[in-house]
């Protein structure tokens, strides 16, 4: 299957990738330098001081840990809400329900993060629609703090990641033949048993892919914590941003980013490892024995 000109065809892609990863290389290099005093630049000597500083700074480590826990929470809730949503979209006998849900999800893709953040402010603010409704119904006697805290960031981020997850597993659920579910029913499994023992396990690879996607989106969230966190919610991206544009400490920002990148890549490798286990032996490996 070797084509003579193949190495040349790879050249444009190689150049493109080299440019992208070249930026990372420069970044990584800068992370071993020191900030230039009084201005946004960097200078020698070469060393691991920035890494030591990050890994010994309780505040920095706390933010990293909080970011990971927060991203895991967003991922779990995305799975719990997104899977049933995708299932309804994939299996609803009513075309209108399918189209409506799919349309709503695609629409969130099309609206920008900033628009959505302000949308959530209008909905969740102290004088927002949700609080007005709660007050009017007499469910609460004071407005509930729904934004400018973790709750607001969580809701907005969940809204952002849900379509990614739902659309990833949607295709997978659709590809489970209806006959396989019927076979389970026929052999004595109720609708719920069929869902949990047939449909969900078959789509586990897609659940893991979707979860990896949501996790990487959540762990790198920047705009939502900035706009809806009210200064109380700082995730790792916001921390790095502050190092860059508030403290002008470029090398420390680079070191923080590198550590963040390593943690994120390691987590994703964990996801792919899980996916490998889940798909093992399901796909025919070449010929049959």
């Amino acid at each position: 299957m070797r084509i003579g000109g193949l190495p040349w065809l790879l050249l444009p892609m190689t150049v493109l990738m080299a440019l992208f990863f070249g930026a990372f290389a420069v970044f990584a290099f800068v992370s071993f330098l020191q900030p230039a005093s009084g201005m946004p630049g960097y200078q020698g000597p070469f060393g691991v001081a920035n890494y030591v500083r990050f890994l010994t700074d309780p505040t920095a480590l706390g933010i990293l840990a909080e970011t990971i826990v927060f991203a895991i929470a967003v991922t779990i809730v995305s799975i719990l809400l997104g899977y049933p949503l995708a299932y309804i979209m994939a299996r609803s006998p009513h075309r209108i329900i399918r189209s409506l849900l799919l349309g709503a999800l695609v629409l969130t893709f099309l609206s920008g993060s900033i628009n959505r953040a302000y949308g959530w402010l209008i909905l969740l603010g102290r004088r927002g629609v949700v609080n007005d409704a709660l007050l009017a119904l007499g469910l609460v006697d004071r407005p509930v703090a729904l934004v400018y805290n973790w709750t607001g960031v969580f809701i907005a981020l969940l809204h952002f990641t849900l379509p990614y997850f739902a659309l990833t597993v949607f295709g997978s659920i659709r590809s489970v033949p209806a006959q396989v579910e019927e076979a389970a029913r026929d052999l004595g499994a109720g609708a719920l048993t069929t869902f949990f023992r047939i449909t969900v396990p078959i789509t586990v690879p897609a659940i893991i892919s979707g979860a990896a996607l949501v996790f990487s989106l959540a762990i790198s969230a920047f705009a939502f914590p900035l706009l809806l966190g009210g200064g109380r919610v700082r995730l790792i991206s916001n921390f790095i941003y502050d190092q860059l544009f508030v403290s002008f400490n470029l090398p420390f920002a680079a070191a923080s980013s590198t550590i963040f990148l390593i943690v994120a890549v390691a987590t994703l490798c964990g996801f792919f490892w899980l996916e490998g286990i889940a798909t093992r032996r399901r796909i025919p490996m070449g010929g049959l024995a």
Binding site: V180, E182, A183, R185, L187
Partner: protein, 352 residues
């Protein structure tokens, strides 16, 4: 069978989507241990009928009884039926063993019995060496055996099979048909098979229901259906390829008038008028023109080799009859005048 409780009874069963009837007024009684084939072209409603028995389609009217009790109120998982799907529908994330054990585990079978039962079912279909495999590691024929074992193990009252051999190649299909029939006899399980293949129906069945447009055209044992199809549609579906439209004339002697003039003396209780003559190609013999058995004369228009036999198209005036004759010697030559002998008992007339 009358007086006996039927293993399966369909009473006035109907299904329509909107104004479009898919199954209309199906009445049928099947004794225990029998194998019924629902035979018909695609879109005749046979699969819908099967899915109604399994519980995946709700009938618009009528009733389905198993051993005399209506199963209509039962959900699919509560019905004493099990179905082998056309695509086999094995669970891709489970081993062969777990696929077969699925139904037993839902019935809370004790651990000690579970392994025994699963292995016995797999041994019945000669798949016991493959229990640790995943479905993706099996061939089509093997997957089908597993699908069958998965149903047999739960000991259903009625086993339903939807085009079970459709996805197999010809050789394997014939082998599996015979194997399935032997297994069915051995276990005495009542089965309903859906197929569009008349040869398959003949190999498998105790009873065949030929369906067209949602209705049963004929319900009979295979031999009866083969020898005495009830109407032109059934005859044509059962491989009676000589169907000639002509006229029945009653004078001193009753005869069938071919288009173009030739007459064939027949015995029939039908009134005179337009009729269709039906005869299998293998019931038509060639003979010498001066032979006393010779009933008709025609001209050989075409011959082709069909294995050990020769298919000859004989032009009788404006009609063409096909004869499937044993091959010996040089055989008839195209353009030759030949006599035709037709076995009276194999000939049928249907009113038009």
């Amino acid at each position: 069978m009358p007086g006996d409780v039927a293993a399966l009874e369909l009473a006035g069963l109907r299904k329509s989507y909107g104004n479009h009837p898919v199954v209309q007024e199906v009445d049928l009684r099947l004794p225990r241990g029998a194998l019924l084939t629902l035979l018909g072209p695609s879109g005749c409603g046979k699969s819908t009928l099967l899915r109604m028995i399994a519980g995946f389609v709700e009938p618009s009217a009528g009733d389905i009884l198993i051993n005399g009790r209506s199963i209509l109120p039962l959900r699919p998982e509560r019905r004493p039926t099990a179905m082998v799907f056309q695509s086999y529908a094995l669970f891709p994330h489970m081993t062969v063993f777990d696929n077969v054990a699925f139904g037993l585990r839902l019935r809370a079978t004790p651990r000690a019995q579970l392994g025994d039962k699963v292995r016995r079912a797999l041994a019945l279909v000669r798949m016991d060496p493959f229990e640790a495999r995943f479905p993706s590691e099996l061939s089509g024929g093997q997957q089908q055996r597993v699908a069958l074992a998965r149903c047999l193990v739960v000991e259903p009252e009625i086993l339903l099979l939807d085009e079970p051999f459709g996805a197999l190649d010809r050789h394997l299909r014939e082998e599996m048909q015979v194997e399935m029939r032997k297994l069915q006899r051995q276990l005495g399980v009542t089965m309903v098979v859906v197929t569009h293949d008349q040869e398959e129906a003949l190999v498998l069945s105790d009873y065949i229901a030929v369906m067209r447009a949602g209705a049963i055209e004929q319900f009979a044992e295979p031999i009866e259906l083969y020898d005495r199809p009830a109407n032109r549609f059934v005859a044509s579906f059962m491989g009676v390829s000589n169907l000639i439209d002509g006229t029945l004339e009653r004078g001193g002697e009753t005869s069938f008038r071919f288009p173009g003039g030739a007459a064939l003396a027949v015995a029939s209780a039908l009134p005179s008028g337009p009729v269709t003559l039906a005869i299998r190609p293998e019931a038509v013999r060639l003979c010498a023109l001066d032979d006393r058995a010779c009933r008709l004369a025609g001209t050989v228009a075409f011959t082709s080799l069909v294995g050990s036999r020769l298919s000859c198209e004989i032009k009788v005036d404006d009609a063409v009859l096909t004869a499937l004759i044993p091959r010996h010697g040089s055989g008839p030559v195209i353009g030759e005048r030949v006599g035709l002998a037709i076995a009276e008992e194999q000939l049928q007339l249907f009113p038009r």
